[in-house]
């Protein structure tokens, strides 16, 4: 599973490409679809309320 940071990084790259005037319309549609998927993945990740706590033993 990808880290949230990686997902955000990919999303930023997609937004950057979409704002590049050299991107063609076809590419842009594909990018938009990918971007929306990434946004949803990020949101899902954020909505995980669980914070896991692991306690280490004193002597490993």
């Amino acid at each position: 599973m990808k880290k949230y940071e990686e997902l955000i990084g990919e999303l930023k790259e997609i937004v950057r490409k979409m704002e590049d005037s050299n991107t063609t319309l076809d590419e842009m549609v594909t990018l938009y679809e990918q971007g929306i998927i990434l946004v949803r993945q990020c949101e899902d990740r954020l909505n995980e309320v669980e914070v896991k706590i692991t306690e280490l033993g004193k002597e490993p």
């Binding site: 997609i14 319309l25 842009m28 971007g35 954020l46 309320v49 706590i53 280490l56």
Partner: protein, 464 residues
């Protein structure tokens, strides 16, 4: 002293029953011995209680070889007012006062008039010297500070397993961002706390992206472990960024100085560790909007492009375009033709001009024209010549007849007839004998003929 006391009792004969008050007084007398008056006692505070009246009650204790000794203490409200610190359990103090026996309660206590944290000065000095050493090693250099990752996946926490710190951190993080917290429990107080904290750091450091080292508020003494070089070194050597949240904002330990980031409280440390879920949601919404806007803009632009192209592709426009081109073509053809005609005209007029000039130079014409002119001129000359010749002839004749008369009268004939001769040689008249050479043949002219002669000798009239 015990010995003396026993001796005293031994002086009494037979068992003697003493009254409580007598014993109590004896105890008072014994306890209020000058050795126990106005003395300094050092020890650790325990069972600290502040009575509603303002008096302070607690014990001073000490452990030696596992055996604990305790003395009950109290500070009257009046003296408590002058304490320059707030005493608390576990604090090492130096107290000044006297042992006093409270007969109605059957208890003795150490009544304190002055008290201060013990070793505070020495510890401060020790911390200062550690600080200097660490600064020399560059442990506090700003360029050492690392920036914690924006989106950590595992956060290490070194703190007490039971304290409020881990509770606060957990609360803040679960509210903000889903991550895994790895708690590496440590004894944050006590004689060996520093070793325990350092061990807890090294135990967890390889498993996490960022590390919080935390402890709740406490006295200077409580936080002392966080100044210890072994804790500070563990923080400095930690491969991931360390956020320190030790004590309150005003307490600055050496661990705080060496950490990559310092937080005022454990909750603040947790906030610095993870992004806020809400602002992340907003950022995602913003990116979504940007993408959507970009796509719609691009679509609109594409639509406009298509409209433009369609407009330009219409039959009407095409025909118009063809007509314009055709007109242009006709225009060009006409201009070409005109130009070609002009060129030809210019060339032929030039040709005619040249031909004329050539004609002008034609020798036949020239000669023909000249010839007639010359012929006329010649006949004119001829006429003039004949005329002039006849006139001249007549005048010459007249002159000649007159001259002939003169000549006859004065000419050589008369001279020759008078006896003079003319000597000719080499086609000319010899006027001087110097012109003659011996043996030369000469012609002698007489008036009625000539004779050839040879010069035999030449005589000069004068010596030349």
């Amino acid at each position: 002293m015990d010995q003396i006391t026993l001796d005293r009792w031994n002086q009494k004969e037979g068992p003697k029953t003493l009254r409580v008050s007598e014993v109590s007084k004896m105890i008072t007398r014994l306890l209020e011995d000058e050795e126990l008056q106005n003395i300094w006692i050092s020890g650790e505070i325990s069972n600290f209680k502040k009575h509603s009246s303002g008096h302070l009650y607690f014990s001073l204790s000490e452990q030696v070889n596992g055996k604990e000794s305790v003395i009950s203490c109290m500070i009257w409200k009046g003296a408590a007012r002058y304490l320059d610190f707030t005493p608390d359990d576990g604090m090492e103090v130096l107290a000044y006062g006297s042992i006093s026996h409270y007969e109605p309660g059957g208890r003795y206590s150490f009544q304190i008039t002055q008290m201060r944290p013990s070793g505070a000065g020495e510890r401060a000095l020790l911390i200062e010297s550690w600080k200097r050493e660490m600064a020399l090693k560059g442990w506090f250099n700003p360029e050492r500070k690392r920036v914690p990752p924006r989106y950590p996946t595992r956060i290490g926490v070194v703190t007490s397993a039971t304290g409020a710190v881990i509770h606060d951190i957990r609360n803040v993080i679960s509210r903000r961002f889903p991550v895994e917290i790895v708690l590496s429990p440590a004894q944050v107080q006590g004689a060996s706390a520093h070793e325990d904290i350092a061990r807890a750091i090294t135990r967890v450091q390889e498993m996490v992206d960022v590390l919080i080292v935390g402890r709740g508020g406490g006295s200077y003494e409580d936080l002392f472990a966080f100044n210890h070089p072994c804790v500070v070194e563990a923080i400095v050597r930690c491969p991931v960024p360390v956020i320190a949240a030790i004590g309150h904002e005003v307490d600055v330990t050496l661990a705080d100085l060496a950490a990559d980031l310092r937080a005022s409280t454990p909750s603040h440390a947790a906030e610095q560790c993870v992004p806020d879920r809400q602002s992340e949601h907003e950022a995602l919404m913003h990116m979504k909007k940007r993408m959507f806007l970009q796509l719609t803009n691009r679509l609109e632009a594409a639509q406009e492009e298509i409209n433009y192209i369609r407009d330009h592709l219409s039959a009407h426009r095409l025909l118009r375009e063809v007509r314009i081109r055709r007109e242009a073509l006709a225009d060009i053809a006409e201009r070409l033709e005109r130009e070609a005609y002009a060129v030809r005209e210019r060339a032929s007029s030039r040709l005619y001009e040249l031909l004329g000039r050539l004609e002008g130079k034609n020798p036949v014409l020239f000669i023909r024209r000249e010839l007639s002119e010359r012929r006329v001129y010649l006949s004119e000359l001829s006429t003039r010549f004949v005329g002039a010749a006849q006139v001249r002839l007549a005048s010459e004749r007249a002159l000649m007849s007159s001259l002939s008369g003169i000549l006859k009268a004065r000419g050589p004939e008369a001279i020759l007839k008078a006896g003079y001769c003319m000597v000719n040689s080499r086609g000319g008249v010899i006027r001087s004998c110097t012109e003659l050479t011996v043996g030369e043949r000469v012609k002698i002219r007489f008036w009625d003929g000539t004779a050839d002669a040879t010069i035999d000798q030449v005589f000069y009239d004068e010596k030349i």
